[in-house]
């Protein structure tokens, strides 16, 4: 399980994270509202933002979550929707800041959190490989060197110079995934990307992640597919409504999770 502080590459210490919900950030539904009412609304919002008292307007995606991950570990994060899994990955990836608490990481982080976001539909596969590769922290020279591998892994073939908007969604995901795994990070964050793509691609992704592990990289894996979790990760962290409910050997944690789900009823 977790180890001494010196060798840990990911540390969360009493991390809290809250998000605003509904109300205050309601988007306009009706058209043609009167200017006076709009102004009144803006003033009201600003006033509300000033007073932090309105408790019901926020939810705590993470509430006092702590754990440590050592170099070379493969850890799954499981739990029901809204448990805080994606928020945890976002905090580790530094995309978002905690409300309070400490998030520490060591080494280059690669995140497969939403691999379609860095891809621009108007650009070709080739242009996107350079774009997304740079976004993920590769230099152009690195990308040029790995270009053929990336194209092969994504099975783009002759579509490499076609705009991505003409790709099937599976191809688009393969492109993003392929770039991301070729970044060769020290810590790889994966959020349910395996749910897309066909079986042969999923199998190759799993093989690739096995290789990550044997090469000593650290893996954080969010998934609802328990067979994948068992296969990749000896350790699992079960998040429930923003708190670490259990942290331990994967089989035990999954059993606990399933029991909770059954108790909660349909």
């Amino acid at each position: 399980m977790s180890s001494d502080r010196a060798s840990s590459v990911v540390t969360l210490e009493r991390v809290w994270k809250r998000y605003r919900i509904g109300g205050a950030r309601r988007r306009r539904v009706t058209r043609g509202r009167r200017l006076s009412s709009e102004i009144a609304r803006v003033v009201e919002q600003a006033r509300r933002r000033g007073s932090e008292g309105s408790a019901g307007r926020h939810i705590w995606a993470l509430a006092d979550a702590s754990f440590e991950i050592a170099a070379g570990e493969a850890v799954a994060i499981i739990g029901a929707n809204g448990g805080g899994k994606s928020t945890t990955l976002k905090l580790i990836a530094r995309i978002t800041q905690p409300w309070s608490g400490t998030v520490r990481t060591r080494g280059r982080i690669g995140s497969l959190i939403e691999i379609r976001s860095g891809i621009h539909p108007e650009l070709t596969g080739r242009e996107n490989i350079f774009l997304y590769g740079t976004i993920l922290g590769l230099s152009r020279r690195d990308i040029r060197r790995r270009f053929d591998d990336i194209v092969d892994f994504a099975e783009l073939g002759r579509y490499v110079d076609t705009p991505v908007k003409r790709y099937s969604s599976g191809m688009e995901i393969r492109l993003g995934f392929s770039v991301a795994v070729h970044v060769e990070p020290d810590i790889l964050l994966i959020d349910e990307v395996l749910a897309v793509g066909d079986e042969s691609f999923q199998r190759r992704c799993l093989q690739r992640m096995d290789r990550f592990r044997t090469e000593g990289q650290t893996l954080l894996f969010v998934s609802h597919v328990m067979s994948d979790v068992r296969r990749l990760c000896p350790r699992a962290i079960y998040l429930e409504r923003g708190a670490v409910r259990m942290d331990g050997p994967t089989d035990d944690v999954i059993r606990r999770y399933h029991r909770d789900v059954e108790e909660a009823g349909p």
């Binding site: 705590w60 029901a80 809204g82 990836a93 978002t96 982080i109 976001s117 108007e122 350079f130």
Partner: protein
């Protein structure tokens, strides 16, 4: 720290998590994470290639599926020059300091086009790149900066046409043309500062998409671009005239381009120096402010 199982789905929130009442304990107060400008600048400098890549992408995407492609970069200020030539040159006859009105207007419109395009693209740059802002960590000032950089590329194309036009009208390079370098630097300070500001504001208030074009129009007409600086001064009350170049710091810059390229005169250094200092101060403030806000962009956008 276990929530009672079976109590799930309270509030039915799609986002999950618990409201403060649900917690059962008091949440800690908000922790302030200080913004370190040195670290920010180091990260930005490490992201140079990222900036270039985004600027390149902006340019590619901007002119994809257009028939005229990058020609639009030239056409936009050029058409404005034609309109100005008719309206201000022929109809209103504002005068053009003794040179043909088209060169007169275009020599200031081309640098103005750079500033205005940077701010215009900058207004929406974070919202347009929302998916990346929400999902990937990177120094987020690359988005407004790439708006400036891609506008600079368009500007270079326009500047080429301006050069041909100057030569065609018989205005040949003089030593004073060298002042284009400090003038461009000063203009870039304002372009970057304004772009940082409007991009961050748009994250919180999409209203800026309507406000910014109007403000740009206002600044365009408040600056001696369509008319000679003399006319602008004459329109002001007597006591305000000496303040003109200081109240609108773009005045000595844009008029400076015209002085140099068309009249072969050096800029008014005192005024230009004041503008540059103001631009630098504005940029420093804008960057600090941007870095303070940008940690929460992913949660807001």
């Amino acid at each position: 720290m276990t929530g009672a199982p079976g109590e799930s789905g309270s509030g039915g929130s799609r986002v999950g998590g618990r409201t403060t009442e649900d917690l059962g304990i008091d949440p800690p107060p908000r922790q302030r994470y200080p913004v370190r400008l040195g670290t920010a600048l180091r990260e930005l400098s490490a992201g140079r290639e990222l900036l270039l890549t985004f600027a390149e992408r902006d340019l590619r995407v901007r002119y994809k599926q257009t028939i005229l492609g990058a020609f639009w970069a030239v056409l936009q200020p050029f058409l404005l020059m034609v309109i100005f030539s008719v309206v201000f040159g022929r109809i209103a006859r504002v005068g053009s300091e003794g040179v043909p009105y088209p060169v007169f207007a275009y020599s200031a419109l081309v640098p103005w086009g750079f500033f205005s395009a940077a701010v215009t693209y900058g207004t929406t740059c974070l919202v347009v790149n929302g998916a990346i802002v929400r999902k990937i960590y990177l120094p987020r000032e690359v988005f407004p900066l790439s708006s400036v950089l891609s506008s600079a590329a368009d500007f270079a194309t326009s500047a080429l046409i301006l050069l041909l036009m100057l030569l065609g009208y018989g205005f040949f390079p003089t030593m004073a043309w060298l002042s284009v370098v400090p003038l461009l630097l000063a203009l870039t300070l304002f372009a970057v500062a304004s772009t940082l500001l409007v991009s961050a504001v748009t994250v919180y208030f999409r209203d800026s998409r309507f406000v910014v074009p109007t403000i740009l129009q206002l600044v365009l007409y408040a600056t001696p671009i369509a008319y000679p600086i003399g006319k602008g001064l004459a329109a002001l009350p007597e006591g305000m005239r000496p303040l003109y170049p200081y109240l609108n710091p773009l005045v000595p810059i844009l008029d400076g381009f015209r002085r140099a390229l068309v009249h072969g005169q050096w800029p008014r250094w005192g005024q230009l120096g004041f503008s540059a200092a103001l631009g630098l101060a504005l940029l420093t403030l804008a960057y600090r402010w941007y870095k303070r806000l940008d940690a929460s962009f992913p949660d807001v956008i």
